[in-house]
Structures are given as C-alpha cells and as structure tokens.
C-alpha cells in the first residue's frame, strides 16, 4: 500500500506481523497490542525497529509507558466514520509527548487528511487506486485552523494577535 509520510510518498520499511505469525529474522516490524504485551521484552531486544498497531477500541494509555521503545504507533480506522483514532493521535502527541511516527491505517480517505494531519498523524497508508499526486496536494487544501493542537501550528486566533 502507498505511504504518504511527512508530505511525500515514502517506502514502508515495516512488516506487519498479524496475530501469532512468526517474526521475520530481521527488519522493522509492526505488531498488534496483544503481541506487544506478551513479547514486549523480546521485541525490545530484537534487532530492528518495532511499532504497535492499535485498533480503534484500544487507547494509547495501554502503551504509554512503552512509547520510548516504539518507533511507530499505527492507529486503525476500521471505517472512515470511526473517529476514535483522532483522539488517540492527539493523546499520543499531547498527553504522552510521543515524537515517533503516528501512522493512519485502514479506511483512510483523502478527505480525512487535513483532520489527521492536525490531530498528530505523520504518515498515512492509502489505497493504491488513488492517485499519489492527489494525496500530496490534498494536504494544502485547508490552511486556516481554529483549534490549537499538539502540532503548534498557529490558529486563526493566534494569527490575529500577530
């Protein structure tokens, strides 16, 4: 699946390891929360970066203590209408001061990009039937925001006072 990261199309070094599938010998992996909780120490010792995949009903509080070990947190949208991951992204950035990659996965639509971008997501897995150029330009559709979030981009209220 194509990946938009920091505003450009990027390679994805992560292998998604589902359920109890065997871990690859090397390289970056993305595991679900259950796997992380049961094999936490081994995953930390393992050679290669590790990330955790949270479903929309799992909250970042579950991995808050472990964030220094995680290079990426993937937040799943089972359907674009399920907006729980927006709260998760903001909590990761603003409450837990997470500075790694926060990735949007699942039903990720181009229309959601500007919301996700401001909520703290830094990378987006999107469907390959959508033109890549559209994804790169969609990020600049909206340039004015009213809400302060963890990205500290100035809001309309702050710009008014300059």
């Amino acid at each position: 699946m194509p990946l938009l990261k920091n505003g450009a199309i990027a390679d994805d070094p992560y292998t998604r390891v589902e359920g109890d599938d065997a871990l690859p010998a090397e390289g970056a992996v993305l595991v679900d929360l259950a796997r992380w909780e049961s094999e936490r120490d081994a995953l930390i010792r393992r050679d290669g970066e590790v990330g955790v995949w949270l479903t929309s009903s799992e909250t970042p509080a579950a991995i808050a203590e472990d964030l220094p070990h995680l290079a990426v947190v993937a937040l799943e949208f089972p359907a674009f209408t399920d907006g729980r991951a927006y709260s998760s992204a903001r909590l990761l950035r603003e409450r837990y001061a997470y500075e790694g990659e926060v990735r949007a996965v699942g039903d990720v639509l181009i229309e959601q990009l500007h919301f996700m971008d401001r909520a703290g997501f830094s990378s987006f897995e999107f469907s390959s039937d959508q033109p890549e150029e559209d994804w790169i330009t969609a990020q600049s559709d909206m340039k004015i925001w009213y809400q302060p979030t963890g990205d500290e981009r100035p809001t309309a209220t702050q710009l008014r006072r300059r």
Binding site: S87, R90, F115, M142, K143, Y146, Q147, P148, R160
Partner: protein, 552 residues
C-alpha cells in the same frame, strides 16, 4: 453581529473551492456516489426523495440583510423560489442541482455563509436564544460564546467523525428559548453570587427515538473555560460513545447507560488535564469577539411611544398583531418583533424569495440591517423603535408576514415530512396545515393562549414532538399513515417529555383529536392557566376519557 476577518473568509473560501473540486470529480464520474456521500454531507448537501437539499448554517440564528438577499437570490436562481427555516435556526433549500453547488457555495462564501457541518456526525450549527442581547430579562448575552464555539467546532481535527451528530445550544436568560435541556450540550449563562459569569452545563438531552432531558453535570463553569470543558466532554464521547448501533450512538445514550455521575467523573478528569492549556479563551480574544455584539446605536427614547399608543387605539388589526408578536426589550422605546412564517394553511417555516427580499429591506429600514431565525421556524427583528412598529406592520401585511400567532396553537413546529424527507414515514406539512386551518380563528387562538404544538413525520423527531405541549408523530402502520398524540412536553426551563395518550388517529382524526384536547382544556382550566399547567395539574386522564371513551 460577528463579521468575518481575513482568516474566517479564507477558511470558508478554501472549503468552498475544495468542495467544488469534489463535485467536479463526482460529475465526471471519478468519484462514486458512495465515495462522494461523506464529502457532500460534510458540506450540508443531502440527497432527499426528489432532489438534493442544501442546508445553510445561520450561526446561532443571526443573519444580516446582505445575507438574506443572497438567500433570496439562491432561492430564485437555483431553487423553486422559496426556502425553508429550520428548527435549528438554519435555512434549507429543497430542490438543488448538484452541478450548481460549486457556484452556490462561492456565492454563499461571498456573504460569509456556508453549509459546513450542517450535516454529518460532527458538531452542528450552534444555536441560541433568538432574543440574545435584547431580552428584557436577559442575564448575559450568549452570542459571544456561541461565536467562540462556532470557531472552535469548525472542522475540528478530533471531532469531525463522532459516533453521531452533536448539537450545542446556549442561553443567557432565565426563560429558556434555546431548549438547552434538549441538546447534546446545553449551556446556561448566568452570574453566580460573586457576580462572576459562568455556565451551568447540561449534557445528554435530546429527542429522536429515545428522548432524554439533559442532565446538569456542572453547576458553574467560568466562561473562559467553555472551550476546554466542551473539548473534554467531546473527547469522552468520541472515545466511549456507541458505534455499534446508530440509534444508540448519541451522547444521551452514553450518559444514560453509564450514569450521569460516572460520566461527569470522566469529563472532570479529562478536563483537569487540559483546562490550563491553549483552549483557555484569552481576554483579548474575548474582547475582540465581544466588540461585535455591542448594542446597536439606539436612540434615547422614552419607554412609551404616544404615536404607538394612538395607532394601537385606532387600528384593531394592528393592535391584535402587536399584542401577540411583540416582546419586551432591554432598551426603552424599543420592541422585539416576532415575524411569523407560519401563516394559516401554509408549511411552517417556508419563505419565498420575494418575502426574503422584503424582509431584508425592512431590516435595513427598521432593524439596523439584521434579523434572527428562531427555532420555531420564524424570524425576529430584535431592535425596532416602538414608533416604527405601525409602518413595519403595514409592510409585513403586504407580503403575508403579519400573521398574529406567536406562541399560539397555529404557530406549529413541523418537520418537512414525507413530502420531502427520505426518512419520514408520514406526511407532516399537510396535517399541520389542516390543524392551522381548524384553529384559524384569531379569537379562538387567543382564548386558548400560550401553547406549543409540535409535529414530526417520523420517530426521529425533527419536529420536536416530545417537547411540544401537544406533540404529534406520524408513523407508518400497515402502509397507512397514523398519527399519535402526546401531551405534556416542554422545551423550556421547566423541560419535560410528553406522554402518548392512547391509540393513534388518521389524518382527519388527529385534527379532531387535537380539537377535543383543546376543548377539554378550556373546560378544565383555572382562569388564565396555560395548557401545560392545566395538564400538569389534572394529568392525562380527563383527556383520555374525552378521546377514547365510547360515546354514551
């Protein structure tokens, strides 16, 4: 009223252009209806039974004459020459063509209007007391906070894909004209015993299939925290609100299932972590917004106008209208004027483009160029000199906007029903029309006195039937329309939910039934007692007996 600065204007423009591109993609076929649906909904465009319907936000009901003329223009050029005022103080057009949308949105943007978030599972248009800033009994003007909430909720990065739609209403009066206890969040602005401004916060009110009266979860919230407290409520709801069943997805179900106490605890815990953050409203911003809502340049006038007194004495029709449609104003010599858009035998809330143009001109002449839309689907001029009332009335008579039914039985709230709506199970407008014809007699209406009759064409309750003193809901039973009658609802500060009286009626039967209810009330009431007070005193039994016991 609030005026856009460069940032607000740019925000709406960017969004209009973005949606324009999306419409082009839909028309060229590169977007399917399925892919397009969420995009159009987020811009206020519904697909109804016969055509697209566009709902345009009127922020907390405030509208200026330039905007009203633009709405008239849109009705004339792109629709069937009329628009419809909604119970959430908005304007909707029922016959829009998709290909016209990009142009319409740019036209709207040019007068600081849009349809952003007038649909979808997001924070909808903020509503408020239609007398905000002018009611004689008002404690504080809620519009400043409505505007702060409007900006905060516009394309919110976290709360645009909620479990379900979310409605916020604000009042600053003792008398609740904003139905704050029937909203997802209701805010009541008041001053505490130390003279500080704050809000009582209600959560989890709402109508629809499972009606609830909102619960008070905070007795006093200092006003500078209004955004952070709402953010805390929304965050708890976004994370925990049910997403498995759209009929159980509103915050009222979460509050009910979890219990108000447990819910409040979570909100307070969340709020404790964000209350000192960037959402605290800076005094400078408060001042900036407040400046838009300073009173207009009133003349110093005596409270009474001898001119008006003379006109009231010499013209009985004018006197009837004035007695019914006026409300007391803060400023001596001025009056609040209710303009009824629910004339006898017409769909409540419909207004023609010609009427819109006239109203805009009258607003310029008599009302500082502004007007309000009310949740009863009418209009209000908030600042009319008493000595101008007669001239204003004459102009209103000429365009059919001088009906004298404010707060009376023919001033119904009514949803569009099966004539327009894809969700409806029964027609509602024709029944409302028949009811208003049955009670058309002005003296009879006046004799009945203050009463709220609300009517919906299905259980989703867009016509607020649960909180009508008399509520009617149309249902579909074995392929024919059946109308159920409920009594005892109220949307005001004494909010209560109506109860179904008994078996339903057909279209003509419901009109007779309402008349029987009214006759029963007139027999039972103590002198000058309102319908709702009589009902609360005597209970449903006398009404049941009258309606359902077999004739002797």
């Amino acid at each position: 009223m609030y005026k856009y600065d460069e940032f607000d204007a740019e925000f709406v423009n960017q969004r209009a252009l973005q949606f324009g591109r999306q419409v082009e993609s839909r028309l060229s076929g590169s977007l399917s209806e399925e892919q397009f649906r969420p995009l159009r909904l987020m811009n206020g465009l519904y697909l109804q039974l016969h055509a697209y319907m566009l709902r345009i936000n009127v922020p907390y009901g405030c509208l200026n004459s330039v905007q009203m003329r633009k709405l008239a223009h849109i009705a004339r050029v792109y629709d069937k020459d009329y628009g419809h005022l909604t119970t959430r103080q908005n304007m909707q057009f029922n016959w829009i063509k998709l290909a016209d949308m990009p142009e319409i949105l740019l036209e709207l943007a040019s007068v600081e209007m849009h349809g952003i978030q007038s649909s979808g599972n997001c924070i909808r248009n903020i509503t408020a007391d239609e007398y905000a800033g002018v009611a004689a009994e008002e404690i504080e003007d809620p519009r400043v906070y409505c505007e702060l909430l409007r900006q905060w909720s516009s394309l919110h990065p976290e709360f645009s894909f909620l479990p379900r739609k979310f409605k916020i209403s604000v009042t600053g009066s003792e008398k609740d004209r904003a139905a704050v206890k029937a909203h997802d969040i209701g805010l009541r602005l008041y001053r505490n015993e130390n003279g500080e401004e704050g809000f009582e916060v209600f959560v989890g009110g709402g109508l629809g299939r499972t009606p609830f009266i909102g619960k008070s979860i905070r007795a006093f919230l200092p006003t500078r925290h209004v955004l952070s407290y709402c953010e805390a409520i929304l965050r708890v709801y976004n994370q925990l609100g049910r997403r498995d069943n759209k009929y159980k997805a509103r915050i009222k179900i979460l509050v009910h299932e979890m219990g108000a106490e447990a819910f409040t605890e979570l909100v307070e815990k969340e709020w404790a972590q964000i209350s000192a953050g960037a959402l605290e409203v800076p005094e400078a911003e408060l001042e900036r917004v407040r400046a838009f809502f300073v009173p207009p340049a009133y003349e110093r006038l005596p409270e009474e106008s001898p001119e008006l007194e003379a006109q009231l004495g010499s013209d009985a029709a004018f006197a009837t209208w004035a007695r019914q449609q006026l409300a007391a104003h803060k400023q001596p010599g001025y009056a609040i004027v209710n303009i009824s858009c629910s004339p006898v035998g017409k769909p409540p809330g419909d207004i023609s483009s010609a009427q819109m143009d006239v109203v805009a001109n009258l607003a310029d002449t008599y009302n500082f160029g502004e007007m309000r839309v009310t949740h009863n689907q009418n209009l209000v001029f908030t600042d009319v000199r008493k000595s101008d009332l007669f001239a204003l009335w004459q102009e209103l008579v000429r365009v059919g906007l001088a009906t004298s039914n404010h707060g009376l039985i023919s001033d119904t709230i009514c949803c569009p029903g099966l004539d327009y709506c894809a969700l409806a199970t029964a027609r509602s407008i024709p029944v409302a029309e028949k009811l208003s014809q049955r009670f058309a007699d002005q003296d009879k209406q006046k004799e009945i006195g203050e009463i709220y009759l609300n009517m919906s064409g299905c259980i989703n309750a867009c016509g607020h039937h649960h909180v009508g003193n008399i509520g009617i809901v149309g249902v579909d039973k074995k392929n024919s329309e059946l109308y159920q009658l409920m009594l005892g609802g109220s949307a005001e500060e004494d909010a209560s939910l109506g109860k179904i009286l008994g078996p339903g009626f057909d279209e003509d039967g419901i009109v007779d039934a309402v008349e029987n209810v009214i006759d029963t009330y007139l027999e039972l009431r103590d002198e000058s007692e309102r319908f709702i007070d009589t009902y609360r005193r005597v209970g449903p039994d006398p009404f049941k007996e009258r309606l359902y016991s077999a004739p002797a």
